[in-house]
């Protein structure tokens, strides 16, 4: 098994977190992982992009030139669409990105991630929390479902991922993020995505 992923969006959308969680999830499934953040001037106000490579074999290059999976969180990040492999998976945050169906040779799934997350108010750490911040977790759930990660033990494994990264005061956000992952996966299951093989 090998998958190359690009996750892209803008600063504040939790793009780097999402990529970290995805990589660590695969590490826990026994795979080699490589995660490359964009950093420096790029992260200030502009695009945030990162590469994730997961593989049963040792990873040659951590640089993703032709992803199997492209996760797009905002409209400017659609610029990466030409890189996506034919037959690949495009997951789009349709709360911000309209007009995502620009290629017919890839599987496109539009996920209203911000609205889905905003609807999870009851799982926020406090009553007034704006839960739309969990849109990145919705996209994580979508990604795991779209790439057909074996569902057995998946909720427990995702929880372990969050427990690894969300420590201290952030632990209060774990239930919200778990529900967001579940909602993202459920949305994709209903949408009936055909994943790239």
């Amino acid at each position: 098994m090998k998958a190359e992923v690009i996750v892209a969006g803008h600063g504040g959308q939790g793009v780097l977190e999402l990529a970290n969680w995805l990589a660590y999830f695969h590490l826990r499934r026994g795979r080699h992982v490589a995660y490359t953040p964009s950093y420096g001037p790029e992260t200030r106000g502009g695009k945030v992009k990162c590469y994730v490579v997961v593989s049963d074999e040792t990873i040659d290059s951590p640089i993703v030139e032709a992803p199997d999976l492209l996760i797009v969180m905002n409209t400017p990040s659609m610029d990466y669409l030409p890189l996506l492999k034919p037959g690949g998976n495009l997951l789009v945050n349709s709360s911000l990105v309209k007009d995502a169906r620009r290629r017919t040779d890839v599987a496109v799934t539009e996920i209203p991630a911000v609205e889905i997350a905003a609807g999870l108010r009851e799982f926020g750490p406090t009553q007034g929390t704006d839960t739309s911040i969990a849109a990145n977790s919705v996209m994580l759930g979508a990604a795991l479902a779209a790439t057909h990660e074996a569902p057995e033990h998946l909720p427990e494994e995702v929880e372990e991922v969050f427990r690894h990264f969300l420590t201290g005061r952030k632990t209060a956000f774990i239930p919200l993020n778990l529900h967001a992952v579940e909602a993202g996966a459920a949305f994709v299951a209903r949408a009936g995505v055909l994943a790239a093989t």
Binding site: A23, L27, V33, T36, Y39, I59, P62, I63
Partner: protein, 355 residues
């Protein structure tokens, strides 16, 4: 797969690798893209997880830091500093003193783009500075080039063992990409046996005092000291060349690359080999001493074309040409400014050299 694996940035892995190797002291001044090294060490300092880690200080400047490193190393302590381009330049004077005195120091340079202030992207443009000494006087440091987060974790231990065995500065030359890259890794089991520090200045207590100095006012004394230094370098060159090969059997063209470029080259070589194009990879792990023995072996196997891929305008290519000594064609492919060459570019360049 063993699952005591960690998931860390190259810089964090290097810091923990140093701690697992028994780091006693760190002195530095932060600079992007190396700052996670002092940051990680500062977080661990005083927590009790690494009791041998007894001294950490953020100096007021790189000059202060490198001289603290030298003072600490003079007592036989395992001492490290970490920096990037501009800071590495500032530390050269101290590194020259360490070479002259014979101090076992470990200096990490996470190479960013230059010259001058440059930018924060990855380059390998400090190759000359690192492998030729960089400071004044005729000295060399041992230079190690990791190409993965796993090696970022492993090389402080290797670095300290070489530094103490030869009483010489050792440089770990990484790049901004490797510093920020996160991968799975396992902390290697490190031998905890301590190094010979019988030469160190720890207080005579009635015995003979140990004078550690690089000053030799008598001409004959300096000449003798320099000859001894270079006899040591000859010994290092005989004993310590390290390299890795991939698909070099039957190769007509061999790509020579280190650090992040070696990772790109791996992918290019596999893609070429999948089409039965006979291209291999030679990865120097020690940039100094340069692994001439490995190049010699490839020449013996009949390799007549080398493609040197670097994030600079062509520096290591000079060492490859020296090793080849006219017996093969040597081409250079460089990329600078923080940019990384694409796989297709490497594939095309290598394929064009296949006869």
């Amino acid at each position: 797969m063993s699952d005591d694996r960690e998931f860390l940035k190259g810089n964090e892995a290097l810091a923990y690798g140093a701690l697992h190797a028994g780091l006693n002291a760190f002195y530095g001044y932060p600079i992007t893209p190396s700052s996670e090294i002092p940051e990680t060490l500062a977080t661990e300092f005083g927590q009790g997880n690494f009791p041998e880690f007894r001294s950490f200080l953020q100096a007021a400047s790189e000059l202060e830091a490198i001289n603290m490193v030298n003072g600490s190393a003079a007592t036989g302590a395992k001492t490290m500093t970490a920096t990037s381009g501009p800071g590495f330049s500032l530390k050269q004077e101290g590194i020259s003193y360490a070479a002259g005195i014979g101090l076992p120091i470990l200096v990490v340079n996470v190479n960013r783009a230059g010259p001058g202030l440059g930018n924060l992207g990855p380059e390998q443009s400090d190759y000359f500075q690192a492998t030729r000494g960089g400071g004044h006087g005729g000295y060399r440091a041992i230079v190690l080039a990791p190409d993965s987060v796993q090696e970022m974790a492993a090389f402080p231990s290797l670095g300290f063992s070489l530094a103490f065995r030869y009483r010489t500065p050792v440089v770990i030359l990484a790049d901004a990409f490797l510093g920020q890259l996160k991968e799975d890794l396992v902390f290697p089991q490190v031998s905890t046996s301590s190094f010979d520090t019988s030469w160190a200045a720890t207080g005579a207590r009635g015995d003979q005092r140990h004078v550690l100095a690089s000053l030799h006012l008598e001409l004959d004394d300096q000449s003798l000291a320099t000859h001894k230094l270079h006899a040591k370098y000859a010994e290092i060159a005989r004993q310590e060349q390290r390299y890795e090969e991939l698909e070099s059997d039957g190769a007509q063209v061999v790509i020579v690359a280190y650090g992040i470029c070696a990772r790109l080259a791996r992918r290019a070589v596999r893609s070429l080999r999948a089409r039965s194009v006979p291209v291999g990879l030679f990865r120097p792990i020690t940039l100094s001493p340069f692994p001439n023995q490995g190049i010699e072996k490839l020449i013996g196997q009949g390799v007549r074309n080398f493609l040197v891929v670097e994030l600079n305008m062509g520096q290591m290519v000079q060492d490859v040409r020296l090793a080849v000594n006219g017996r093969a064609q040597v081409s250079s492919l460089g990329q600078v400014g923080g940019l990384i060459p694409g796989t297709e570019e490497l594939v095309r360049a290598a394929e064009a050299m296949v006869g």
